[in-house]
């Protein structure tokens, strides 16, 4: 009983306390109401009478893209443009007619402006004309009274200091289409651009940033009286690439005028230091729209300037595939390093004769000799003993014919054929298919980036994945340390068998690519040539003795390939070079790969955290 009274007492005290608190809160709200309605009432009343506040979003500057040393490869420049705010124009059509009289607008532009005016809220400015010159701006300002609703503002436009030299990596931006705008109202702002390819596309969301807003107090005709509030947008994040722009220029220089592609990677962590594709295109053209003529010219060019050959060009790897075949044979115990195979110049199997590239044959060879001489018969036999499924598994493990964990949109997977795949196509797998796969022909198709990844994995024994993003908003991303990447699961002893073969190709007398030897004898390069036929060579032609690929039309000549890593004793850089229709790997691609590797070793981008300013300066075009 006493307790109950006590409890009632506590309840009463606390209930009154709560009630008091609640009434106090209501009182505060009441005083706030007084503030809003009476004290500031006059100001709000004016706003209410004259239609009040006009808010306008402001586009944030797009984030920059920098190379590994901080040199901008995509930035922003000021773009003066005329915009129309429908809310502030008495008669939109009259305003636009007056504008056309000053600066002609094409029929197409008028249609676009009308469409946007209908689609957007009345206070969102619609772009009328951009990239205004000084004279055009002056013309608009002088005639401002006749152009109600028209304003000139400074937007930004994308600039690519390296232009076509990094176009395929950096990508480009273009105006968003209607489907994009539905996703994000920020994209409705005039002058905003959306990443359409390359890193601009991959990192688009981060690069976009967040919109700011300005609130204006406007009078009855819509003229701005003053700015009430301004919130600056947040600039998009900077993206730091693994690319060394200076090395990129040097690689392009080495490729010359060939239709070709080359990739340079830090083979210990998969950082792509250079990714060059020739020919290329000017990415800034997309900023304002591509003309029909330009587009046709690009798409009709058989050298395919719009395609990033490094990630999307598919080539038979030819003899560069032989390391994968050898490792498959070793791991499945189909061969040992000491096994010797006789090459009489051909292999007869199932009624078909498969030729070695050397007419007279190579005689007895072990694995090292097979690689050094790039003997086809040796690898026909290894492939026969190993079987296609082991070869395919090994190739996939080394990064060939699989989708790489790459941060660049649009890579192609290529193909390493398997029995299952062929059956899925409605055909039986023939032993001949295995034989030609042994020298990287037939159905085998890979990209230059896959080749570079493959060489990196052979050189380091780690499953590195190629990547182009090094920093986001200045923060180093994971994947820089070799230990970030798992091991391949093959012993160094096994890998050394093919590494020694690759060394012999370049550095031993009688190897197939002495041209690729580095000038500095203290650093040695290990490599492998490849020549990939694009057309089957008929027996008659071969036996007639008149077969000379130099005399073929350009598009029938074999592709020339070369893959390499260096230094041989402490692998740091991997290079792959594919020269379309370049004929022989050793003579066409080998010296190019050597020059690229020499330039890479000289610049040594992986070991240099900050570029000496002189080198940044000469990196600028």
């Amino acid at each position: 009983m006493k307790r109950d009274v006590e409890r009632t007492g506590v309840f009463t005290r606390r209930a009154l306390l709560l009630l008091g608190g609640q009434l106090a809160v209501l009182g505060t709200l009441g005083s706030r109401l007084y503030q809003v309605q009476v004290r500031e009432g006059a100001r709000y009343n004016t706003l209410a009478d004259e239609n009040r506040i006009s808010a306008r979003m402001i586009a944030p500057p797009r984030g920059r893209i920098l190379d590994r040393f901080g040199t901008p490869v995509a930035g922003n420049i000021t773009n003066w443009r005329a915009v129309l705010v429908a809310e502030q124009a008495d008669n939109v059509k009259a305003t636009l007619d007056a504008f056309s009289a000053l600066l002609p607008l094409s029929e197409y532009e008028r249609v676009r402006i009308d469409r946007e005016l209908h689609r957007r809220r009345k206070f969102i400015p619609v772009l009328v004309k951009e990239f205004l010159t000084w004279d055009e701006m002056a013309a608009i300002e002088v005639n401002a009274p006749d152009l109600p609703g028209i304003a000139v503002d400074a937007g930004t436009s994308r600039s690519y200091p390296f232009g076509s030299q990094l176009a395929h990596v950096v990508g480009y931006v273009a105006p968003p289409n209607e489907a994009d705008v539905a996703d994000d109202p920020l994209l409705a702002l005039p002058g905003i651009r959306i990443g359409r390819a390359g890193m601009e596309k991959y990192h688009d969301l981060g690069l976009r940033g967040r919109a700011g807003a300005v609130q204006f107090e406007v009078n009855a005709v819509g003229r701005i009286i003053r700015e009430l509030d301004r919130q600056e947008g947040i600039q998009g994040e900077d993206v730091g690439l693994t690319i060394d722009s200076g090395l990129q220029l040097s690689v392009l220089n080495s490729l010359g005028d060939e239709s070709a592609s080359a990739v340079v990677m830090d083979c210990r962590n998969g950082e792509v230091l250079a990714m060059a594709t020739n020919p290329s295109f000017d990415p800034s053209v997309f900023n304002s729209g591509v003309s029909q003529a330009q587009w046709l010219q690009w798409t009709n060019d058989r050298r395919t300037p719009l395609i990033n050959k490094a990630t999307s060009g598919l080539y038979a790897p030819g003899s560069t595939f032989k390391m994968a075949v050898a490792l498959a044979g070793l791991e499945s115990k189909a061969i040992t390093p000491a096994d010797r195979i006789n090459c009489p110049g051909y292999l007869d199997l199932g009624g078909t004769r498969f030729h070695c590239w050397r007419k007279g044959g190579h005689g007895m060879l072990n694995l090292r000799g097979g690689l050094k001489n790039s003997c086809d018969v040796f690898f026909y036999e290894v492939a026969r003993r190993t079987g296609i499924d082991h070869i395919a598994t090994m190739a996939n493990r080394l990064g060939l014919g699989v989708e790489l964990d790459l941060d660049l949109p649009g890579q192609r997977t290529g193909l390493i054929p398997t029995r299952e795949w062929r059956i899925g196509q409605g055909h039986a797998w023939n032993i001949g298919d295995t034989i030609v796969s042994g020298i990287g022909q037939g159905y085998v198709q890979v990209t230059p980036l896959q080749l570079c990844t493959y060489v990196s994995r052979v050189a380091t024994g780690r499953v590195v994945q190629p990547h182009l993003t090094r920093k986001l908003a200045g923060v180093l991303q994971p994947g820089v340390e070799p230990d970030d990447w798992p091991m391949l699961g093959m012993t160094d002893k096994m890998l050394n068998n093919v590494r020694e073969g690759m060394w012999a190709v370049v550095n031993e007398a009688g190897g197939t690519a002495p041209q690729a030897r580095l000038a500095d004898p203290s650093v040695q390069l290990a490599g492998k040539t490849g020549s990939a036929q694009v057309r089957r060579v008929s027996r008659e032609l071969r036996e007639s003795g008149h077969f000379d690929s130099d005399k073929l039309p350009w598009e029938y000549r074999p592709h020339a390939l070369f893959v390499a890593y260096a230094p041989y004793d402490a692998p740091r850089y991997a290079v792959s070079v594919v020269i379309e229709h370049g004929n022989a790997g050793a003579t066409a691609a080998g010296p190019v790969a050597r020059d690229i590797m020499a330039a890479t070793l000289r610049r040594d981008p992986a070991n240099r955290s900050v570029s000496p300013s002189a080198q940044v300066a000469d990196a600028r075009p």
Binding site: R3, A15, Q22, L33, Q37, E40, G41, Y44, A55, M57
Partner: protein
């Protein structure tokens, strides 16, 4: 027990109960609904359609429901407390599973023609459940921390489920409601401190483990001004409309802002703005005074009740009403972020009205049965 004989047992025939109903309180509620009718008449462009007539009919129906519940014995209602809580939790789970997604959150459950917001029912059920629990509590048992763990869980489960909808605003209101109940039940001050102090740390921890998009959602909730053309636009327009009302208002049906469609959702969440614009500061304060009277009336019912269950239930329902009012008016004036909370009995909307009236029905039952014998068994023994 001697004191029991002193308690006045009300006669339990129907007529006696009807006479016990607090008709003054019912009158206050009718006044508030009348304010709603006038404001909705204006929101409808000077016409009873489409809002005002339906509002009146809904209120009439709600009033009948309220009076009916008011005649139900409070001890019967007490027995239903925990089943109601369980039912509320089941509905919250259902709404997460198959609820209608409106404005980015699953809040509504469709039951045939009726749409309902289980979180509103849950708040009432939570008040009943906590009251039933603390009804058993002696002053000594209140001192035992273990005794406080079950009711704490009874609060946290629905709060967690409402958070998941996600409806941060209602979850916060529910949590505050629970805190009011704990406070009134006599939980020691220092225990409140113990529970509330780690909340900022906990919030930071949870925030750190959210996905980016979830974080963005919370950021927008906490900083609507970062979205000046979305949520912030409403606030700006609402403040302009209020400000244009001035001291005496533009006059009935004269509020230009509201009628020119600058004001979004004027018939629901922003109804107070119409009142403020047309009737000025004077009208706004009058409505706030009416709301204050209803809160005071509810608290008086709580104080006059002779059993702990009734006291706590009446207090909980009054606090819930207060929280509604506070969030809505503060939101309209831009003091707190937009929360999607209507002004009870004034805003247009059927299911919210019914839930509020059910709550007032329970409050009325407390009043009618304020003197019944409803002892705590253990203390009697």
């Amino acid at each position: 027990m001697m004191d029991r004989r002193l308690w006045r047992e009300p006669s339990f025939d129907l007529m006696g109960k009807v006479l016990q109903i607090n008709w003054l309180y019912v009158l206050l509620l009718c006044c508030l609904a009348g304010v709603g009718y006038v404001a909705l008449y204006s929101a409808g462009g000077g016409s009873p359609e489409p809002y005002a007539t339906r509002h009146a009919m809904r209120f009439a129906f709600g009033l009948l429901v309220m009076l009916a519940i008011g005649l139900v014995d409070i001890r019967v209602i007490a027995k239903l407390a925990w089943p109601a809580w369980l039912g509320g939790v089941v509905l919250l789970v259902l709404v997460l599973r198959m609820g209608h997604v409106g404005k980015g959150a699953q809040r509504w459950l469709e039951l045939g023609p009726l749409q309902m917001q289980p979180s509103e029912l849950m708040k009432l059920a939570l008040v009943l459940a906590l009251a039933a629990w603390f009804h058993k509590a002696s002053w000594q048992r209140m001192g035992n921390p273990l005794f406080l763990i079950p009711p704490l869980i009874a609060v946290l489960i629905p709060v967690g489920l409402i958070l998941k909808e996600p409806n941060l605003g209602t979850a916060a209101i529910t949590a505050m409601l629970g805190a009011c109940m704990f406070f009134a039940a006599g939980v020691r001050w220092w225990k409140f401190l113990l529970v509330t102090l780690p909340i900022p740390l906990l919030a930071q921890f949870v925030y750190g483990h959210l996905h980016d998009y979830q974080r963005a959602r919370i950021d927008t909730f906490l900083h609507p001004e970062s979205d000046p053309l979305g949520a912030g636009y409403n606030i700006i327009q609402s403040k302009i409309a209020l400000g244009s009302g001035g001291m005496w208002g533009q006059g009935f049906l004269q509020g230009t802002q509201a009628h020119l469609d600058f004001l979004p959702e004027k018939q629901t969440d922003f109804i107070f703005t119409i009142i403020g614009e047309e009737w000025g500061f004077v009208g706004g304060v009058a409505v706030m005074a009416l709301l204050g009277l209803i809160i005071v009336g509810g608290m008086l019912i709580a104080l006059r009740c002779r059993h702990q269950f009734g006291r706590l239930v009446a207090l909980g329902i009054s606090c819930n009403f207060f929280l509604y009012v506070f969030v809505n008016i503060a939101m309209v004036m831009g003091v707190i972020p937009v929360g999607g909370v209507p002004l009870p009995l004034v805003s247009h909307g059927g299911s919210a009205m019914l839930t509020v009236m059910v709550g007032f029905g329970v409050l009325m039952s407390v009043h009618v049965h304020r003197d019944v014998e409803f002892p705590t068994k253990r203390e009697d023994g």
